[in-house]
């Protein structure tokens, strides 16, 4: 466990980055990028999540065990989203015999 307090300056930088990214995601949403609008929105959200998790939640300085637990959680979330969506997205790609 990293017990030394991080500087106010580094927290302030993360805070300002989060505010700028919030403004950026709002502005970009009004510009027509076609299918890239969703990609941009999710990309910015993931960057913001990483900033909060690594710096505000001190994941950067956490033990390996904690990191593995968080990574495992994200892996299961990925399985939930990817496998379920791969079912819904591919329905209708092939004809079903007898239907």
């Amino acid at each position: 466990m990293h017990e030394q307090a991080a500087s106010i300056k580094s927290y302030t930088l993360v805070f300002l980055s989060l505010l700028i990214l919030t403004a950026a995601t709002t502005v970009v949403a009004f510009i027509d990028l076609g299918p890239l609008n969703v990609v941009m929105a999710l990309f910015i959200a993931v960057v913001k999540m990483m900033l909060v998790a690594l710096f505000f939640m001190h994941l950067r300085y956490s033990t390996v065990l904690t990191k593995v637990v968080v990574g495992g959680g994200m892996l299961w979330l990925g399985i939930l989203l990817l496998l379920s969506l791969s079912d819904f997205v591919t329905r209708g790609w092939l004809p079903v015999p007898g239907k």
């Binding site: 466990m1 017990e3 307090a5 991080a6 106010i8 927290y11 302030t12 805070f15 989060l18 505010l19 919030t22 403004a23 995601t25 709002t26 949403a29 009004f30 510009i31 027509d32 990028l33 609008n37 969703v38 929105a41 999710l42 910015i44 959200a45 913001k48 999540m49 909060v52 998790a53 710096f55 505000f56 939640m57 956490s62 033990t63 065990l65 904690t66 637990v69 968080v70 495992g72 959680g73 994200m74 299961w76 979330l77 939930l80 989203l81 379920s84 969506l85 819904f88 997205v89």
Partner: protein, 219 residues
Amino acid sequence: MDSHTETAELREQFETPAQQKEISTLGMWIFLVTEIMFFGGLFLAYAIYRREFADVFALASNTLDAVIGAVNTAVLICSSFTMVLAVRAAQIGSRKALIVFLILTILFGGVFLGVKAYEWDQKFEEHHVPGPTFHLEGTTQQGPAQLYFSLYFTMTGLHALHMIIGEGLMLFLLWHAYKRKYTPSYYTPVDIGGLYWHFVDIVWIFLFPLLYLIARHQH
């Protein structure tokens, strides 16, 4: 093993205060992982139905006020900033700063919930709440439109419930900080309370673009 005198920073079952803190942090993260799965199911439902009814979801999403949503996101980020400063204050043993930053966190959280209540109230006025009086202008697909708003109210509602619980936790921390329970060698409750608060912030970081911003470029 020798038994030692129990203190808040070293309970009997632990070898060292560092080990105890590590276990507390790990326990909180395991709880947060269950929360990820809990909200994950809702995000999955949202993704499936949004794909199915893209046009209606776009129309329904654009009835929300993107500026209010963005400002409220900023308010929540401010609360996370004051929270991390509260944890830092506890870490360096500044009781006064800890109390001030906890109060600020509670205030920012309160502003967020107030704005959310105003938004919900607007939706009731506009008959955008799923039920017999529901009506969304500009579409014949009232069913899928209600589906969007069902997801909207469920997701923002559960998020708001987490915020209310968070406010309760902050009040508890404030009370204990006032009673001088926390020292640089023991401030674990502030630390893991912070983890919870930031997690709720992260959930909103995803809710904001997905609920408010998905179709702004279309209208």
